[in-house]
């Protein structure tokens, strides 16, 4: 199974991988996660969620009521201040544990690079075996800015000591959903 390969490869580089069979389960996981990180508290830390198919208008409305610190307006400021960024990735690549996104819209990049934690939603049926098939699926000709993410931000520039979270997120949480809504 490609998802098993993905999980092994992604966890090997420090990603956290979850899988849900239904949207609702994924959603309640996200809400719980946000609450645990304090996002639901008044004047607590914030989270930013970039527009994506998973985030329907109805869910948005419900979420605003449940999670105080959750925001949908994405700017340098909101993204830089946020503790958590949420976005939906377009594909996953199994043999390297990579997420891929057609990220021409700046908001998509801001939420995945400025906050400390990135929650990445992706459809289980969008897992591709490798880079070759991925680049056949989406040619850079048809994408202004194609982003590939494999684990959290890392460096080994000081004495080769692996350190997580330099300029990008220190945690990458991948949430697979089996039956995404259209």
């Amino acid at each position: 199974m490609m998802i098993d390969t993905f999980k092994i490869k992604a966890e090997a580089v420090g990603s956290e991988v979850y899988r849900f069979s239904a949207d609702e389960d994924a959603l309640s996981f996200i809400v719980e996660f946000l609450k645990k990180e304090g996002i639901a508290e008044l004047n607590g830390p914030t989270a930013v969620w970039a527009d994506c198919p998973f985030l329907t208008a109805m869910r948005k409305k419900e979420l605003v009521e449940k999670v105080e610190g959750l925001r949908f307006d994405i700017s340098f400021e909101t993204a830089a201040l946020a503790k958590i960024g949420i976005s939906q990735m377009d594909w996953a690549i199994a043999d390297t544990g990579t997420l891929m996104q057609n990220a021409g819209a700046v908001e998509q990049r801001l939420v995945s690079m400025l906050p400390n934690i990135h929650l990445a939603i992706v459809s289980t049926n969008k897992i591709l075996p490798d880079l070759t098939t991925a680049l056949a699926e989406i040619n850079p000709r048809d994408a202004d800015y194609l982003t590939f993410i494999t684990g959290p931000s890392r460096t080994a520039d000081i004495e080769r000591v692996l350190t997580i979270g330099v300029h990008g997120p220190e945690r990458l949480i991948v949430i697979f959903v089996d039956q995404p809504e259209n």
Binding site: K9, V13, I74, S75, F76, A80, D95, T96, G97, T98, G104, A105, V106, E107, R109, L110, M113, L131, T132, L135, A136, N139, P140, R141, A143, D144, Y145, L146, T147, F148, I149, T150, G151, P152, S153, R154, T155, A156, D157, I158, E159, R160, V161, T163, G165, V166, H167, G168, P169
Partner: protein, 710 residues
């Protein structure tokens, strides 16, 4: 090598933190690289990269035009120039026009190559490097010492000092905390910047795409936050199609950092919107700076296949001792020497090329199949062609080339050494030669050379004949190895003849860049060895075997002596290294080993020429195992011993340090004997073990086998 460079190298080697950091890195690297390539066919992968980049290098102009057309069609501005000055002018003009005062950069070796920061800062613009390592060295006012890990030469204490000064707060040496400081400080610059400058790891012509490979995420910020993005790309990064990027993206992270893929890869094909709804300005500068000239050079075009992974530095026995700064320029190590000779000046490479010991380890791991040692030799050849040989070396070579004079001098040497010699070793030398005997005892010249001794051996007559090529070391220093070879071959019923006209194989000449002399030596030996029409030529020196089998043809081609090529190929076909030949005899059942059990423990040292040039490493192990020895592998058994022919004379300090590691690794096996194929290595290792008073004996494979025949 200039005394200045020598001083720099010595100073670097004296820095314990540097050498221990690089040493442990080089050891860890081999392991992580191997793990990253598990399940992948490296040869197949690098063949495809070499093919893609090799072909691309022959169409740089067309690819650049195609890239320009496609990128411009999608809204980027593409500027092509051959000159570094034009690059700087373009960026400065753009900055002036757009009112740019603050620039953030993600790592770009091309910008280092042309010292871009210097000019930008001189124009009053603030420039911040945002790759952690690059920022560290920017704060320190230094150059990168490694292409992938620019600050690998610095300690956490040094980094803490730099950061403390930068933010006026005393910081501890806690690395995660230091990284957090960098994150916090650089964030400010990202948000304030009016322009982001990046390099590119790949440029795809078909789609007008630039590909950025990073781990920290700074390239994403540099290419997203400021409203202007300038990309500086060397022409050699161009490839034709999107799928051509795949093998490079597979190899680059694996070879650079042992990762399957870096944390981030960005493929940018068009300007994207800013948060305020305006469109980003995307400027792509395609810089030639000698790449086209390099591509037109039949030898050096090969170096354009480099993907800048720095694997060659990581496995280099010299780099791990001296680090990157000794190379004195932005591109470091062997590949850096080659790139510097083109992108900057040949003059800059003249000195540093002498650091290469030509052990060939780098070329075995190069994902672009760049033959680095060969290109270093080519630099040497061109320097010698242009400037001639240093006088003393030329005089010495003239002597070696004059066979009769050389032989009589060696005889005189035997007599002169007498007061210094004891037990076949010279342990101290007077005056200025003393450096050579400081870290290892030197062997004495034999009383009777092999060419005389063989005449006294009673050999089987009437059977098949083998011509023996002794090489200088066996002929004059280790004749007993020659006798062991004869004993083994006689046992198989073969008669060994010694063509008297043979001379030095020419490796020292070629290694020093004197191809004229190397070609003369090749021709003389071809004549001598083919004269008798003997079907086999056997040599027990791995370096000589490489010369006869591989280098003669190359040297004669380079020197335009085409009339000798056919015979050189004939000689190459007849030539065998000792172990391969004996293995063949055993397989053909013409020779039988005693096949005892648990005789002694042997560790085998892979001579560079045997392992990486002749591809011989299984044969000797198989034979010795068959004879009944237990083979215990040493750590880094195929690492150079530091001899490198005349290298040990030219760079005694480096040679000695390489040897120390080798000796330690041999000692750690607790073997009874260490065995090898090359008399050069024997000279170095035997001398080293004698100096340390080790109990481990040093033998040539032939000596071992000669005692174990049925």
């Amino acid at each position: 090598m200039s005394s200045q460079l020598r001083k720099r190298a010595e100073e670097a080697m004296a820095q314990k933190t540097l050498t221990s950091a690089l040493g442990s890195f080089s050891e860890a690297y081999v392991v992580s690289r191997a793990k990253a390539y598990e399940g992948l066919d490296f040869e197949e992968l690098r063949n495809s990269i070499a093919d893609i980049k090799g072909k691309a290098s022959q169409h740089l102009d067309a690819l650049a035009e195609q890239f320009k057309k496609n990128a411009e069609a999608r809204g980027a501005k593409v500027f092509r120039t051959s000159s570094p000055e034009e690059v700087k002018k373009y960026i400065l003009n753009l900055a002036r026009e757009k009112g740019v005062y603050r620039i953030v950069k993600s790592k770009s070796m091309a910008s280092e190559e042309i010292h871009l920061n210097y000019d930008l800062e001189a124009a009053g613009i603030s420039v911040k490097e945002t790759d952690l390592g690059e920022w560290i060295i920017q704060l320190a006012g230094q150059r990168p010492s490694h292409m992938v890990l620019p600050a690998i030469h610095m300690t956490r204490e040094q980094v803490a000092d730099l950061f403390s000064k930068e933010i006026s707060e005393r910081l501890t040496t806690d690395i995660p905390k230091l990284v957090k400081v960098a994150r916090r400080e650089l964030r400010k610059y990202f948000f304030e910047a009016d322009m982001g400058i990046s390099g590119a790891n790949i440029a795809i012509a078909e789609s007008g795409t630039i590909v950025l490979v990073t781990n920290e995420g700074n390239a994403r910020l540099v290419t997203t936050l400021p409203k202007i993005h300038v990309v500086l790309v060397g022409l050699e990064k161009l490839i034709p199609g999107v799928q051509d990027a795949v093998p490079i993206l597979k190899a680059l992270p694996r070879s650079a950092t042992g990762q399957l893929l870096t944390s981030y890869v960005s493929m940018i094909s068009a300007p994207t919107p800013n948060t305020d709804g305006t469109q980003k300005e995307l400027h792509i500068i395609l810089m030639d700076n000698q790449r086209t000239a390099m591509a037109a050079d039949p030898q050096f075009r090969n170096a354009l296949q480099c993907i800048r992974c720095a694997a060659c530095l990581n496995v280099c026995p010299v780099y791990r001792l001296v680090g990157g700064h000794v190379f004195g320029h932005v591109y470091t190590g062997g590949i850096g020497t080659i790139l510097t000779s083109w992108f900057n000046l040949m003059q800059n490479a003249e000195d540093i090329q002498g650091l290469c010991i030509t052990c060939g380890r780098c070329k075995t791991v190069c994902p672009g199949k760049v033959n680095i040692p060969e290109l270093i030799l080519e630099i040497r050849r061109r320097i010698v062609q242009k400037k001639g040989m240093p006088f003393i070396q030329k005089a010495a070579f003239a002597v070696i080339r004059n066979r009769k004079l050389f032989h009589s001098l060696l005889r005189a040497g035997y007599l002169a050494q007498k007061p210094l010699a004891k037990d076949g070793f010279i342990r101290h030398l007077p005056m200025f030669f003393s450096g050579l005997a400081e870290f290892r005892s030197l062997p004495t010249v034999a009383e009777t050379p092999f060419r005389e001794r063989i005449k006294k051996i009673k050999q089987p007559q009437g059977g098949e004949k083998v011509a023996f090529f002794a090489g200088c070391a066996i002929d004059f220093v280790y004749p007993h190895i020659g006798e062991a070879v004869v004993k083994v071959l006689n046992k198989a019923g073969l008669e060994v003849i010694f063509p008297e006209e043979q001379s030095c194989c020419g490796t020292p000449f070629r290694g020093s860049g004197d191809y004229d002399l190397a070609a003369e030596a090749a021709i003389e030996n071809i004549k001598a060895l083919l004269k008798d029409g003997v079907p086999y030529v056997v040599t027990a020196c791995a370096s000589c075997a490489s010369a006869l089998k591989l280098e003669f043809v190359h040297v004669l081609e380079t020197e335009g002596k085409t009339e000798w090529i056919a015979q050189a190929k004939e000689l190459a076909a007849r030539t065998y290294d000792f172990s391969t030949f004996v293995k063949k005899l055993v397989d053909e059942k013409r020779l039988t080993l005693k096949e005892a059990k648990h005789l002694e423990r042997i560790t085998y040292h892979d001579s560079c020429h045997a392992k990486r040039f002749l591809n011989v490493y299984e044969e000797p192990r198989t034979l010795m195992r068959k004879a009944g020895y237990d083979i215990v592998e040493s750590f880094e058994s195929d690492m150079c011993c530091g001899m490198g022919g005349s290298y040990t004379v030219k760079q005694p300090e480096i040679s000695s340090r390489i040897l120390q590691r080798k000796l330690q690794n041999i000692e750690d096996t607790h073997a009874d004997m260490v065995c090898m194929e090359c008399p050069g290595c024997i000279m170095q290792i035997k001398g080293g073990l004698d100096k340390t008073g080790s109990k481990i004996r040093v033998k040539h494979t032939a000596e071992i086998l000669a005692d174990n025949l049925r």
